[in-house]
């Protein structure tokens, strides 16, 4: 039986402010346990919170980037529950009057873009970290109080692929705002999923299962895929789906029920009396909106429009904000009005170098003028395309300028007729069969012979001239 899949995602995002949400402790990652705490984030008796100005600014930026309506009046609430990583045994969060509502994110999966609704984006604080030992548990409060945003989607996704696409698009949008590291492995982005299945003809949604403990976008997709199968099988057998929370087990690639004795939690939300509400004027919102950095999507369209890139190439370059900015610097520095060559090198050779080093084109740290210098050399036929690729590798590892490398490593293209003649002689001598083929009319033989000549010349032969020489001698 074929079922409709309905998925909603809840993302928790660490904002990369310098200090915590309600106190001035540093938010730097990886410090020694309990080294970044103070009476406020420890919830010591008598301590009081004061909200971080930049966290509020970032929150509004995210809400706007996700097309939400920023509320004019918003307040914090207390979410009350007991757990050792929560020092006050309540979390400062937002309940009925959150920062923003009713936004959307467009994902591109297939021909048409699809709008995934975003119910709300609200502000809250993170809890600490628990380390479970055999006989007890250890608590580290360094992470307590780090400012979080909770981004809740509408249950608008209808496949694990769409969910994955939502996450990658969301990450891209957030990276462009520069408000978070968005790193699931580091824990600065966490995702819980809700999934239910229903028969296509049913109007009512099926029983919702909550999935937790997924540590990567792939894990989210895998967990959802597993759930679709698990639930479909149960429904086929006529069984009911239990409304529960299930944990993703990465090792076994299955979801496991999280058996808790308690029923639904009663959080006893009430307005946080220690924090006066916020009144966010339309003027403030407009001001922040006007200062928002260009989104990845807008940049893509602009690259196509201004520099004549193809959609395909532009998409590659804007997928990462730093790369996009670097690419644009290179494109601007390139002297010709037709930018095809520099773009080809960025999405071609540069990207290959980056991938081989598990890096990104911007992180290769090649000053744009150096890249341009290399491209100009190629155009002036000072070096061959092939050599240029080797020079590029050298530029990445040594950090030196291309002209210096060309000189030092003797990469200059051989265009001298005399020298080239000598190389052609040798190649002809060693490749009699191909010579015969060429004379017999086989076109490939020419390219093969040129290739051999390039090899012999260690890539330095001028391929165009070589081609002409071969043609002349062997026709």
């Amino acid at each position: 039986m074929k079922y409709d899949t309905v998925i909603g995602l809840e993302v928790h995002l660490h904002l990369n402010t310098k200090t915590k949400a309600f106190c001035a402790c540093s938010t730097e990652f990886g410090s020694i346990a309990n080294f970044q705490t103070c009476p406020v984030c420890l919830g010591m008796p008598g301590s009081l919170p004061v909200y971080n100005k930049v966290a509020l600014d970032y929150a509004i930026k995210v809400a706007l980037a996700l097309n939400c309506t920023v509320q004019e009046y918003t307040k914090f609430d207390r979410k009350n529950y007991f757990y050792p990583d929560l020092p006050k045994n309540y979390q400062v969060s937002q309940y009925d009057l959150p920062l923003s509502l009713s936004g959307f994110l467009e994902i591109e999966l297939g021909a048409k873009p699809k709008r995934i609704g975003i119910t709300r984006v609200h502000m809250e604080e993170d809890a600490g970290k628990l380390i479970h030992k055999e006989d007890n548990s250890l608590v580290d409060f360094n992470r307590t109080g780090i400012p979080l945003l909770e981004i809740v989607s509408e249950p608008d996704m209808n496949s694990p692929e769409e969910a994955h696409s939502y996450l990658t698009e969301l990450k891209s949008v957030l990276e462009y705002l520069d408000v978070s590291d968005c790193d699931m492995e580091k824990g600065s982005l966490r995702c819980d999923a809700n999934i239910s299945l229903k028969k296509p003809e049913d109007k009512k949604l099926g029983v919702k299962v909550e999935l937790k403990n997924m540590n990567s976008f792939k894990a989210v997709k895998d967990a959802l895929n597993y759930e679709v199968e698990r639930q479909a099988q149960l429904l086929d057998e006529g069984k009911t789906i239990g409304q529960e929370t299930r944990l993703w087990d990465t090792e076994k690639s299955i979801t496991v029920s999280m058996r808790t004795k308690e029923g639904a939690q009663d959080y006893r939300y009430f307005p946080e009396p220690d924090l006066p509400p916020f009144i966010i004027s339309k003027t403030t919102v407009e001001e922040i909106k006007s200062k928002l950095p260009e989104s990845g999507r807008d940049k893509l369209q602009r690259f196509v429009r201004e520099y004549g890139l193809t959609n395909y190439d532009a998409k590659i370059l804007v997928s990462n904000k730093k790369d996009a900015e670097y690419a644009e610097k290179c494109i601007k520095a390139y002297p010709e009005s037709d930018k095809k060559m520099v773009v080809n090198w960025l999405v071609g050779a540069m990207l290959s170098e980056a991938n081989a080093r598990n890096s990104s084109i911007a992180a290769l740290n090649i000053p744009e003028n150096n890249l341009i210098s290399l491209l100009v050399s190629i155009q002036k036929q000072e070096i061959s395309n092939l050599s240029a690729k080797s020079v590029l590798s050298e530029m990445v590892s040594s950090g030196k300028a291309p002209l210096q490398i060309i000189k030092e490593k003797n990469f200059a293209q051989i265009s001298d007729a005399g020298e080239l003649d000598k190389i052609v002689d040798e190649v002809i001598k060693d490749n009699q069969k191909s010579v015969a083929d060429l004379k017999a009319g086989k076109e490939n033989a020419l390219m093969f012979l040129v290739g051999q000549a390039m090899k012999k010349s260690k890539g330095k032969g001028n391929p165009k001239l070589l081609q002409e020489i071969f043609k002349r001698r062997l026709s």
Partner: protein
């Protein structure tokens, strides 16, 4: 004349004249404490060796729910036993910055400020210096008793529903609850965050004004503190109330008001009339809802504020085999009866299914109560009521009847709900020698008016000169 019998302003004069040093005052106080504390029990965990935090100015006595760095702060509760805060409350920093110091021992209180008699203290009750069989009031009973017994020159208490004013009136001293937000709450172990304020308990009005000058002001560590300049409150210490309009809310003078209290207040009002004030009746129609609103809002906030006392980071931790057992046993054994009662009540009114009927409704009625005051203050400079419907009661009399105990807050509670300042000043005695206090309520940030009226009354009466024989 023993130094401990003097007021802070008298001692400051002596210090300036070179007739006394702070160390003399501290010694004098500890001598007095040794003499009477066993009877009055104003102070807990007395440790003479600690002395004062610095030897400068006049030592202030501090209630056990105000955090003092390195000095035990336990809210007179078992669950916070041994807690030494690693930081100082803002008011303590302000006291030091003003050139004064604190006494390094804390005053007795109802556990977590839950109470009106100081009988809920883990360290046994404090006693009323005017009659040791009677309560000193609460929850700042220790501070009030200490000031009345000359075991303290001046003290800080906290007031959530009357906890400064009521014990001040029971002990015959001056107690002020400032406008909400006037004094920083940073370092005050919270009971009800939207109602709590720290305030002075003193021998006379001048000391109250001096101490208010020191502790008031904006605190960047407290989001609920007002960013408004602090006037010099001593400038309000004038002897003149001609033309001042005083309202007498009729809802505070109903059945249940002790006759002696009623008569004493009437006499005090006559005195004020004779000094030129206009005294007229007014109405605060929603007064009857104040106690129910308070016991919903305050307990709800308290249930959340006290959730942190769980044995994890500080204080008492019960023996247990697992986490849930640790939480339940720690809180079951560590909290006293009244604390448990209030926490459970507060948890209940916030819980699913009851929130709208109780908590939300209470917040709405709170608006109505505030509106009552706003309306009346358009035409009046202040309001006067009894501070408490009865004088001090006997120790043990009400402690087993929580509802009866709650009802004794009826005169003071509304001021906390409305966020307005209230001052209690002694205005007489019962036939049996128990003090009676008069409460003056002012507009938000109207402390200056309160000081003016209180000072004028005080200068024209002798109540503040009387001392108990212990």
């Amino acid at each position: 004349m023993e130094l401990y019998t003097l007021t802070a302003h008298e001692l400051l004069k002596k210090i300036n004249k070179g007739e006394a040093k702070t160390s003399d005052i501290v010694t004098s106080l500890f001598d007095r404490i040794k003499e009477v504390n066993p009877k009055v029990n104003s102070y807990v965990r007395i440790n003479e060796a600690e002395g004062a935090s610095a030897y400068s100015g006049i030592p202030v006595s501090i209630k056990d729910n105000i955090c003092t760095k390195g000095l035990n702060t336990e809210c007179c509760s078992k669950i916070l036993q041994g807690f030494k805060p690693p930081y100082e409350a803002t008011v303590i920093n302000k006291i030091h910055a003003s050139g004064n110091c604190i006494l390094k021992t804390k005053t007795n209180m109802d556990e977590f400020a839950f109470g009106s008699s100081t009988e809920n203290s883990y360290f046994k009750p404090a006693h009323n210096p005017w009659n040791l069989e009677y309560v000193p009031g609460g929850s700042s009973g220790g501070s009030a008793a200490a000031v009345a017994a000359d075991e303290a020159i001046w003290a800080l208490g906290s007031d959530t529903g009357g906890s400064i004013r009521q014990p001040a009136s029971f002990c015959g001293v001056v107690g002020l609850k400032p406008t909400y937000g006037r004094v920083s709450r940073y370092g005050l172990i919270a009971f009800a965050s939207s109602l709590d304020q720290i305030g002075p308990i003193t021998k006379d009005v001048e000391d109250s004004a001096l101490l208010m000058n020191i502790i008031s002001g904006h605190d960047p560590l407290d989001s609920t503190s007002l960013n408004i300049p602090v006037p010099d409150y001593t400038r309000s210490l004038v002897n003149d109330i001609k033309g001042i309009k005083i309202g007498i809310p009729k809802e505070y003078f109903i059945e249940g008001l002790d006759n002696e209290v009623k008569n004493t207040i009437d006499e005090a009002l006559n005195k004020l009339r004779s000094l030129g004030a206009e005294v007229k009746p007014v109405s605060l129609p929603h007064t009857e809802y104040a106690v129910p609103v308070y016991y919903i809002v305050a307990t709800a906030e308290a249930s959340s504020n006290l959730a942190r006392f769980d044995g994890v980071q500080y204080g008492f931790r019960a023996e247990s085999k697992n986490l849930i057992e640790m939480y339940k046993k720690t809180r079951g054994e560590g909290f006293g009866e009244e604390a448990k009662r209030r926490i459970i009540l507060g948890t209940f009114v916030l819980s699913h299914g009851y929130y709208d009927a109780y908590y939300l409704r209470a917040l709405k009625v709170r608006t109505l109560i505030k509106n009552d005051f706003d309306k009346v203050f358009k035409d009046f400079d202040c309001l006067i009521t009894p501070t408490s419907p009865t004088p001090a009661f006997k120790i043990g009399e009400k402690v087993n009847d929580p509802l009866k105990m709650y009802l004794s807050d009826i005169c003071t509670i509304s001021a906390n709900l409305a966020g307005i300042p209230g001052l209690s000043i002694p205005c007489g005695f019962t036939k049996s020698g128990l003090p009676i206090g008069m409460q003056i309520l002012g507009k938000p940030l109207g402390e200056e008016m309160l000081f003016q009226i209180a000072h004028t009354y005080e200068q024209n009466t002798e109540w503040h000169k009387l001392k108990p024989k212990i």
